[in-house]
């Protein structure tokens, strides 16, 4: 079971909402599918993200994958640790491996995302 306090996308991103602040990352399932993550490219603070638009890139040894924003917002911080230790995304995807924090522009978008139960069903279905 994935953490129940987060919301999810079909593209395997998660978002944690606290007031108008949202933290975004990728799920353990996504990190496991990608394998050893060796590089993460994230937007600078101030960048405006559109919902479901690509905002960054995560690279494993073998593959390159886009990151998609679960919600629209303005980037307030990109995880500074991932430059030196991108493997945090594998070891702690829902915690220290977070990608960006944004200030939400449309709170209602969160309600349209998958809850933990729906996301679990999605990955169980393969």
């Amino acid at each position: 079971m994935v953490p129940t306090d987060l919301r999810y996308t079909k593209d395997h991103e998660w978002v944690r909402v606290e007031g108008d602040a949202a933290t975004i990352g990728i799920t353990a399932y996504a990190a496991d599918q990608l394998g050893d993550i060796v590089f993460v490219e994230l937007p600078d603070a101030g960048r405006l993200l559109d919902q479901f638009a690509a905002f960054g890139v995560v690279e494993s040894v073998k593959a390159v994958s886009d990151l998609f924003a679960p919600v629209a917002g303005e980037v307030t911080e990109a995880n500074p640790e991932l430059g030196r230790t991108p493997e945090l995304v594998n070891s702690d995807p829902f915690g220290a491996g977070w990608m960006v924090k944004v200030r939400l522009t449309d709170q209602a978008q969160v309600d349209g995302l998958l809850d933990a139960e729906a996301y679990d069903a999605l990955i169980a279905a393969g």
């Binding site: 599918q33 394998g35 050893d36 060796v38 590089f39 490219e41 890139v57 690279e59 494993s60 040894v61 073998k62 390159v64 430059g83």
Partner: protein
Amino acid sequence: MTDAVDLPIHLTPLTDAHRDLGARLIEFGGWLMPVQYNSIIEEHRTVRERVGLFDLSHMGELYVEGPESDAALNAALVSEPASLAAWRAQYSMICAPDGGVIDDLIVYRLGETRFLVVANASNAAVVSDALAERLDGFRAVLDDRSLATGLLAVQGPRSVEVMTPLTDVDLGALRYYAATEGTVAGIPALIARTGYTGEDGFEVFVDTAHTQALWDDLLDAVRGAGGGPIGLGARDTLRLEAGMPLYGNELDRKTNPYEAGLGRVVKLGKEGEFVGRAALEKVARDGPARRLVGLIVEGRGIARHGHPVWSGDRRTGFVTSGTQSPTLGVPIAMAYVAPADAEPGTVVDVEIRDARVPARVVTLPFYRREA
């Protein structure tokens, strides 16, 4: 994760064994193969530091036999198999008349009148057809045993330690690029001291009926030496660090051996005609139009297959392979560039998505084991 393909996919005798080990399986060269069992980086380090076991049963095994097998292979390939002593091997290539590489190969001489040509899985059928055609007129016949042959590789500094208790072969006498017949775990096999990792190691050819039994015993021994099974993902990063070309990336029909830095493989001095000679003599005379180089990316980003390479405002070439080097901890790549940009120390830019990221040309290989 497996892409749909139109052609039937071959299974090695070990598909179930790989599944039981938790491998992620992908289609590669027409075969369902393990890309990783756990972590590619961990598997890579296991081979560099200890020992790993690979299922390479997808490779093509083409036997050429007959009193003129040596002359036939001299005419079919760019190297000089006829110069091989019995039970020695050489790296070789089969080229088209225009000098383009059809495949890169290992040729083993198994006695006076018998050779084994090992081809890449994705090219095995094409090489088999080309060889059959090129043997025409020689007293030599082709026996394509690709589907009847299993191939396992034991690679890493503890390879001798793993193999010694299992084989009747004197491994101390088996030199690099040599081969011998013997038994491994009681199974009759062809044992070669060859590999594709940059480490010491062995490749063991057996009948497919024995592949599973050999795998089981070798895996026990490899695990006893602190190793484990290794997938194609780590095989790719290992060979890239070792500066070895991968067909489809560094080599293809539009590339000649000299461009790939493999001119030493082409034996223009050998007697007689061989396919590609005139075109290759011209390249040797004029020099290649581009050169394969090693790159270490010095900015942020990982160079990947197909990324353009720039020298100032001039597009000088493209990346053929790239990854984060598990051993060096930096992004490494191989790329074709214009000869003027191929000197070690030259700084070029790799176009990675929207950015131009500086990279330095370095001498290959990136990694060389201590002798």
